[in-house]
Symmetry: C2
Subunit: 628 residues, 2 copies
């Protein structure tokens, strides 16, 4: 550190310094002539001429241009300010002036500059930093950015995401409080299930017959929130809930994440009585109304967009048939077509006997240009059960023959091509699959998603959709202690009331659940359900539907007991706040909307976690490492 | 379950039920004549006469009286409603009527009653419940209440605390957002220090050379929040932060708790330049202003009380001298008096040579009646270094002689008694202690606190106080990785600027820290400091003041590195939200302001945590139980 810096630094420490009078980002022409005090990071000097230098100064609110002229009076200021390392915190005393018209910039403070009278270095940066966040040109690798996250957070784009996240959380809380919701904190040190899969454990210093005891971190506050509503203390609960999932790293997953979690008492068990044409055929429309209003509020305030007051509702069966996905991206029309009924009768019967259907996804040159280009470029062939056919004058009337036997005659091809509106040059993806869809996507659905991800210039705008009427539960759906899917299929979802008899009759495949997913642009950002509130029904679901054994059921004792205390009917939803923010901020990854994220592998290069622990510490918890 | 219940239940399941039109707690005379639909828990029937029964119905908002008359028309309703188990969830269709004047009650809905036309049982309670929350007379043991917390939460008082907690959190967030603070979430899976004391560990499935790796749960977001401010992305940060501390159970501690955590960039390092008589002699007055405004806002809105706009500030030295405590309860005047200077000169010199002082706490019959009664009753003698003397006509002029030698003559006793304003019948607690106080309380301070806790009818109102100017750090203050005290003494606190030279000269005992505690009615509810922002100074504190070794220092590498990037000067505070709510709700324990608390031993009787985990699960984490 140079002696001049040591001196100004000493001055800064040993004297109270003046308070900044303005933020760097708020100065404009109305401040012309004012004396101001600014605090911020000093950015690289731009020498405009031998007589003039610019130094941008930046704080949380923006950047202002500082000006120092090389005349006799300014000489000492300029020579010392030039020596302050970039990114140092400085305090500037100066005077605002309006720039000549030709020098104005379109940035927020672009009309003004601040002539520096004097300055104090509050904290000098090291002469060389790992990288320079103000340098947009430098390519900095992800590992370095993660390790020096506090420097990376100085980048305006990333800082804006973190600030936007706070704004949206405020908006959501305000909206929910206004609708009578109360925020209640639920425990993070919760019960560890004996199976323990996917939960993070927390060793305790308590033990039972010399066996160490563990808490676990919740994957969601599902049980506490249901117990809270069962208590009747609260009729509308919400929480920005910290959740944890110990699973192998994935692109867009974090071991810890945040949910906007809601639950409401006295939700209906059936459709609104006056809404005969309403596609929402289940209960819980109170929850739907809250979510539609909340999302509308966010989009209006953050994006300046008016969403429709009522979101489209599609059933799981329809979503799988038309889009091949339980979280369809309906921003573009590209739809899957089931061509089984267009085949000759004997083909129809043999498919029916196998319980199968034949589907196509057509990429038409006449209408799907972005998809045509993506298809030409990528020629997707990695789905083993999907055949990709480019129609030519040679195969136009024979393309089905390689897929089904006996061969299909040209007349059938002609009518099929007419129905599909395809011609020479178009691409057909053809797939044979089980008629009853399962899981999250069909093979053609995956092709459709890949094409959309590769297609450029789709020119789409946000679409929010509700997927509803999902299959209820079948044995094996319950992967203890958690949910095979982020939000769906927990064992507390109520069956549709029309299907209760089927459920009690053991026709479990026919039972649909009172479940809803919120899908935004093809990403599932939330899910919820109307819950079972009848203890006998919940016990039946555990024993007869999911076929849990006694010890598995025992971990739900408190819930069954709470239902038996006259719990009100209830339902709720949870929204993934990280994903929602990632979509709102248009980032590649949820890591860009989290202040201190972990890597895909679950490590934290900044805090260097996880880390080793000594045996002495472990022994307090009655545990030790397994020697290999 | 009776068949009639099964039938109504079936009805409730199989049909959408009407939405409640009103909350039970909102009905009043303006609703007279309206048809209403109410949903809630049914409470025990009160048979007023052979012809009339009352059933209170309760929801989150309050209780309304339902009326059923035993006439021909109502007979079926009454006989079935009488058979619904208490605490069942019911849906009532009825008509509001105003009570005759003589029957009105002072409760919020006491002017009206609802005549029941029909009802639906939404969920019947079991015929016998573990206890009945509506029964104020029954004494229910704590263990049962904890195990069936969802029933206990039906008690109005407890439910109100949980609701009040939500209101206060909203108030705090609104106030802080309005002042430009942004809420940022920081990681909960953080770095485990090698020492690991007092931290909860979280095993990960990652390992390093076959050694298992662990995260730890944070005791506070101290390091992440400082790094955030160092980044410059945010100038005013706050968070309702989940914190964890693994320590042996105590009356008013929970293994997980919530802090209102703040940090601000560019806080001053010295007193306000225009405030010569201001007792706030350190930096960070920006933080002080935020807290005073915030607390004033809470007290005004929640308690209807105007707090002084500026809280009293007392130094640690003065608090220890006058009240014998670093968190003095100044709601009452009872003060400790140092009588060293009133002793004969040779006693003064010998005390000075020993570095000691002689102090008294006088309980005067003439003025401290509640304390006199407490003293008479408890005759506190459990402090070994304190002598309790009841003044009598015999010992009035000799009482000091048993405490110091050589004997003190009667003339000195007369003048001393005059200064102390004591006479026959008064009690004196006398203590000899080291002149430089250490830790949280002196022996007389503990006596004073015990007397105050025992005294009845003190008739005091809330007093908030700031204790400031604490001793900085000395070797051994740093108990890795945490803080010997809830909030104080972490290694990032800046020295007072007047004492920087003393610190660098190695006169560490003379250095005072830029630290402040917020004390409410003798309870520490918050603490904070101005932080060191200069990397060289922080390194000096680690190495020379705290004498950490290289490996201990290594765990702070990221902080030192962040300071070297030109971090702005910063400071902050953290408030204990559970304690604050406990004081606001006037509860005996913080457990009464937490929805699902743990016992003093750290167990959760509701969720039955912590619990055992199978060896299979543990082995995924590379750990096993230690066999004994």
């Amino acid at each position: 550190m140079s002696s001049i810096l040591r001196r100004v630094l000493h001055t800064a420490f040993n004297r109270p310094y003046s308070k900044p009078t303005h933020s760097c980002g708020e100065l404009n022409a109305t401040h012309a002539g004012s004396n101001v005090v600014l605090a911020g990071c000093i950015l690289p000097e731009r020498k405009i001429s031998n007589r003039l230098s610019f130094f941008p100064i930046k704080d949380f609110s923006g950047t202002t241009q500082l000006v120092v002229r090389r005349d006799n009076h300014d000489q000492p200021v300029l020579s010392s300010l030039s020596r302050v390392p970039v990114e140092s915190s400085v305090l500037i005393n100066g005077r605002v002036s309006v720039r000549p018209t030709k020098d104005r910039r379109p940035s927020p403070t672009g009309d003004v500059e601040v002539h520096v009278d004097s300055f104090t270095v509050l904290n000098p940066a090291a002469p060389v930093l790992p990288f320079y966040p103000s340098d947009d040109q430098a390519i900095v690798n992800d590992e370095l950015r993660a390790r020096f996250r506090y420097l990376d957070l100085r980048r305006t784009a990333l800082a804006n995401n973190i600030r936007q996240r706070s704004h949206v959380s405020r908006l959501v809380r305000d909206a929910l409080h206004t609708e009578g919701f109360l925020e209640v904190e639920t425990p993070l040190l919760l019960k560890s299930s004996p199976e323990g899969a996917r939960e993070f454990l927390v060793p305790s210093r308590l033990s039972q017959s010399d066996t160490p005891l563990f808490y676990s971190l919740p994957q969601s506050p599902q049980q506490p929130k249901q117990l809270l509503i069962c208590s009747g203390a609260i009729d509308k609960y919400f929480q920005f809930a910290k959740c944890f999932r110990d699973e192998d790293g994935r692109k867009d997953r974090q071991p810890e994440f945040t949910q906007i979690d809601l639950e409401m008492a006295y939700v209906a068990w059936g459709p609104h009585p006056n809404a005969h044409n309403n596609p929402w055929r289940i209960g819980g429309h109170e929850v739907r109304a809250v979510i539609e209003s909340l999302m509308g509020n966010i989009w209006h305030n953050v994006q300046g967009i008016r969403l429709p007051s009522s979101f489209n509702v599609i059933t799981y069966a329809e979503a799988m048939a038309r889009y091949g996905s339980d979280k369809p991206d309906t921003r573009f029309a590209l739809e899957i077509q089931n061509i089984t009924s267009l085949l000759p009768h004997h083909h129809q019967s043999s498919l029916a006997n196998l319980g199968q259907v034949l589907e196509t996804l057509a990429i038409r040159r006449s209408e799907n240009l972005p998809f045509v280009r993506a298809d030409d470029q990528y020629q997707l062939t990695d789905e083993p059960t999907v055949t990709r056919i480019v129609l030519t004058s040679t195969n136009l009337l024979t393309w089905l023959c390689n897929l089904v036997s006996p061969a299909v005659d040209p007349e059938h091809h002609i009518s099929l091509n007419n129905v599909l509106k395809v011609n020479v040059g178009d691409t057909l993806y053809v797939s044979r699959r089980h008629a009853a869809p399962k899981g999250g996507a069909t093979p053609l659905g995956r092709i459709r998603t890949q094409l959309a991800e590769s297609a450029q210039n789709l020119g789409v705008s946000d679409v929010i959709l509700i997927v509803s009427w999902l299959p209820h539960l079948v044995p094996g759906d319950y992967v203890p202690p958690a949910y095979p899917h982020l939000f769906t299929h927990h064992p507390f979802t109520a069956p549709m009331w029309q299907d209760i008899t089927a459920m009690y009759d053991g026709r479990i495949d026919e039972v649909r659940g009172q479940h809803y997913d919120l899908v935004l642009n093809g990403t599932e950002i939330g899910g919820g359900s109307v819950r079972v509130h009848d203890a006998a029904m919940q016990e039946y679901v555990f024993s007869q539907v999911l076929q849990l054994d006694e010890s598995e059921k025992a971990s739900f004792d408190h819930l069954l007991q709470a239902l038996k205390c006259g719990a009100p009917p209830h339902g709720g939803i949870a929204l993934g706040f990280d994903r929602l923010m990632s979509i709102l901020c248009n980032t590649q990854s949820i890591r860009d909307v989290i202040a201190f994220p972990k890597t895909g592998a679950g490590t934290d290069p900044l805090f260097k976690s996880p880390a080793t622990v000594t045996n002495d510490v472990l022994s307090q918890y009655g545990i030790q490492g397994i020697r290999t």
